[in-house]
Amino acid sequence: MSDLKSAQAEPLFNSNKKMTYLVLGFFAFLILLPALGPTKFFLHLMIMIFMHAVISQSWNIIGGFSGQISLGHGAFFGIGAYATSFFYVEYGLTPWAGIVIGIIVCAIVAILIGIPMLRLSGHYFAIATLLVGISFQIIFQRWDFVGAASGLWVPLTSEDSLYAIQFHSSKVPYYYLFLIFFTIIFFITWVISRSKLGYRLRAVRDDAQAAQSLGIDVAKHKIIAFAISAMMMSPMGSLFAQYILIVDPDRMFNFEISIIALLITVLGGIGYVWGPLVGTLILIPLAEYARIFFGGTGGAVDLMVYGVVLMIICIFKPSGIISFLPNHILHREKMR
């Protein structure tokens, strides 16, 4: 396993010029993609890929960089979704403001949850987050103020509107929206992973005691990571709510979201900036196609695939698929 390696690892996208061009070219391709006239399903697939990439990236911050396994990250997704929809439905506030509110609420909730919980470690933390995720679902199912179990239905606008983030005629605007958020969040993660914060988080993950002895406030850094991670999750919930226009507790606080975030990250390569992207590119098309081919038979085939993939990865390649890439791409050569 490459824990030690990843501790000193610089992510992709270092001073290497070839790499820079490759990544820029990749983004240019993504920007131009809708112009090539893809089908609606393909756009949907891409949107799902962006969404899951960001979700798992946010999980990567807490799970990969700071090493705390959260099994309840769906809660923040749901909070984001509810924040936008609730304010839009009740007060007519634009979802853009809702996104910001969602982010702020998520940060506050994450800090409040984090203070008692991040004192726990390992299994205790994982189980506690699992319980938190499910508690949120239960609370929102019973909370009449936000529509209880039936959820909120976002009223449709008569035509496409950027103000209300609703586009009925095509999926292209959604595509760009998700692309923008995807780019921003990956950029932020990349910056974090190369900043002092990123190194400190990894130090906390690899050896909390050693980190503490070097003067790193372990608890504070864990909480910071948790809050950042929650803040990344929230806008995706908001956008997803605007994409499907229904918000209900079973869909938004679904346990699956937490699982998928974990799974994609582990599959792609935990602790690497580009790991979640690799994981998403493999898993989401696989799952979507599995759903098409076996659709209607109970709908659990995609989850079955997830489960098997997760076990196989754990047995044979715990550091994720990204570790198949040659080492010199993963790790920056020593400068001095």
Partner: protein, 273 residues
């Protein structure tokens, strides 16, 4: 109810104490046990009570398979990997059950135990009462097995110090397989007792496994006796909270206990660590 939680939790605790792996698929194994006894009833007409031994064998076999095909490889891996692997197993079993048997709710109609009985003015459902009794006996049996027999002592030795036990000639790999078999055997008893009065569906395990986690944390990871007390406490809190405040938030009370315990007394109330 508390006794059932205790039995489920003791299975989990046994596995954890032995090899420091939290079995996130525990609830799914419970579901498998319930389905086993359901199918034995549906296809062969065996009552869940009668089929307990068969269910135990099936589940113990499951546990040993799990050990040989999955757990063996991740014993020395990082905790993250272990969590992910058992979690993957959980997802797999649950969705396989959903795929094979559809997510319908089923129950065993006309089980041998039906109706209710009156003890000192309190009405208790007969199956629940029987379940409590059987669980208590199974629990005592498990406790005696682990603390009194030679194999049980070897099991304990392995959980305390794997290398030392191996030096003394205890095959740790076999012990782990035995641990899995025993742990899931407990689940099998709980599952088949429950299947006479509980609905059976693929997602049934989640809540029970959560309660089991809480019970294990409460009782202290690895302590079997602690599980008994913790299970009873949880059962009481669940039903009293449901009775006095609001039944829809049952899980939250239990969760609150969990948080209180792990924050203030991380080794558990009766923990040995």
């Amino acid at each position: 109810m508390g006794l059932i939680y205790a039995l489920i939790a003791s299975g989990l605790s046994l596995i954890f104490g032995l090899m420091e792996i939290v079995n996130f698929a525990h609830g799914e194994h419970l579901m498998l046990a319930m389905f086993t006894s359901f199918w034995l009833w549906a296809l062969l007409g065996l009552d869940p009570i009668v089929s307990i031994p068969i269910t135990i064998l099936v589940l113990a076999f499951c546990g040993i398979i799990t050990h040989y095909f999955l757990i063996r490889y991740i014993l020395k891996a990082k905790m993250l990997v272990q969590i992910c692997a058992t979690f993957g197993l959980a997802i797999f079993i649950r969705s396989l059950a959903q795929y094979l048997w559809t997510p319908d709710f089923r129950n065993v109609s006309k089980p041998m135990l039906e109706g209710r009985i009156e003890i000192a003015g309190i009405f208790i459902g007969q199956p629940q009462f029987a379940a409590a009794i059987v669980c208590l006996f199974a629990f005592i049996g498990l406790y005696l097995f682990v603390t009194k027999t030679e194999t049980g002592l070897a099991l304990q030795a392995t959980s305390q110090d794997r290398q030392a036990a191996e030096i003394l000639g205890v095959p740790s790999n076999k012990m782990f397989a035995l641990g899995w078999g025993l742990g899931l055997g407990c689940v099998a008893i709980a599952g088949s007792m429950m299947s006479s009065y509980f609905y059976i569906f693929p997602d049934v395990g989640i809540n029970f496994s959560l309660f089991a986690f809480v019970a294990v944390a409460l009782g202290g990871f690895g302590s079997i006796l602690g599980c008994l007390y913790a299970g009873i406490i949880i059962g009481l809190v669940e039903s009293l909270g449901g009775l006095l405040i609001d039944p829809s938030f049952k899980l939250l009370y239990v969760f609150a206990i969990y948080l209180l315990v792990v924050v203030f007394k991380p080794q558990g109330i009766f923990g040995r660590y």
